[in-house]
Amino acid sequence: MDERLKNVVVEHSDDIVKMWLEEVNTHKKNDYTSTISDEMFESTNREFVNVIFSSIEKQGLSSDLDDFSERLINLGWPLSYLTDGMQVFRRVVTDFILKQSDKIDSDYFSEVLRKVDGWVDPIINRLVNEYSGSWEHIVSLQRVALQELSAPLIPVMENITIMPLIGTIDTERAKLIMENLLDGVIKHNAEVVLIDITGVPVVDTMVAHHIIQAAEAVRLIGSRCILVGIRPEIAQTIVNLGIDLGKFPTKSSLRKGFQTALELTNRRIEETQNNDEDIEKLIDSLDRE
């Protein structure tokens, strides 16, 4: 029985492929794949159906399937193309087998369904696993990349360190900010730390609370914290929310904050003598002689 069904399908593979292609093509018009060129779609369909048949013939998943799915993942084909294709295949094959047979009772019917499921389901599972595996891989890579970016600390000068923050701050990141800040202050022996929030889109009570806590912790270990990069709209929302940031100095820009930091560490920016002036003076004095 098993072999017989398989033989029926393999022998009539041409008919089945034709029916499958027709049906898949009707799918194409109204969805995701509409941006893909016709030839590309055609050749991928052919390859897909060949892969399906080869795994049915071999009675098992072939390495062709892995190669095929890997290539589609790299090209960015949607997973729904493959799952839809497999559903269509299941329907087409079931229809075909039932049409071929003369006696149809419920036993035979469920036998056919079970057999077809046995062909189709392992392929679907494998494809879904490949896809989700690749997504999980990407997500974990991005998480690592994000973590590396999340709380950088830059020692710009002796005793002055800057932490530029860009993007949303969630609880996990807030924890990292606190840890990096305290570690960095001790490691670089910083007297003043500038926290730059120019790139933080929204400062709500949670973000403000974390910043206040971080500043307080920096104060406890004997350094000072200046909050810089407060945009006008952020200043307004902070006032509306009624958050008290009065405990530590704040500045509108990193530049102003840096100047304050220099003052706090008893330094200031001094312009070097202009060389052109020197030469002019020299020429002047030469003229006078």
Partner: protein, 133 residues
């Protein structure tokens, strides 16, 4: 009433999703950057309250438009433990989670209309509106 869209709050990152959608909608309505920041902050507070106290819930947005004014309505609903004493949570500095306690009174100041319906064990629904001036 133009359209309505909702964001389900289940994870912490859904707060960001809600905020971004709210900001997009308010930009389309024509709010300036300051009001966009106010609206985004208010959404952030409401969504975070859902995440912290109720676990799950949703935030819905609606663009309002009648003859002479435009605005955005934000409805945050959850089926969490609810609020026992509403006047207490509207006080500045009241918190049960160790935060700043500026969330709800802050939202009220950020927005134009503020309405809260809640009871112990009955969940919470907060409706806020910001009008375009």
């Amino acid at each position: 009433m133009d359209f309505q869209s909702c964001v389900n709050i289940k994870k912490e990152w859904d707060i960001v999703g809600a905020r971004q959608l709210g900001r997009d909608i308010s930009r389309k309505i024509g709010f300036g950057t300051v009001d966009q920041a106010r609206i985004a902050t208010a959404i952030s507070e409401l969504a975070r309250n859902i995440y912290l106290y109720a676990g799950t819930g949703k935030v819905c947005f609606e663009a309002l438009e009648d003859m002479n004014k435009k605005g955005i309505r934000i409805v945050a609903t959850d089926e969490g433990p609810g609020i026992k004493d509403i006047s207490q949570v509207m006080e500045d500095g009241f918190t049960t989670s160790g935060g700043l306690g500026a969330g709800l009174p802050g939202v009220k100041r950020l927005m134009d209309d503020f309405d809260i319906v809640s009871g112990e064990g009955e969940g919470t629904e907060i409706t806020v509106v910001k009008w375009l001036r």
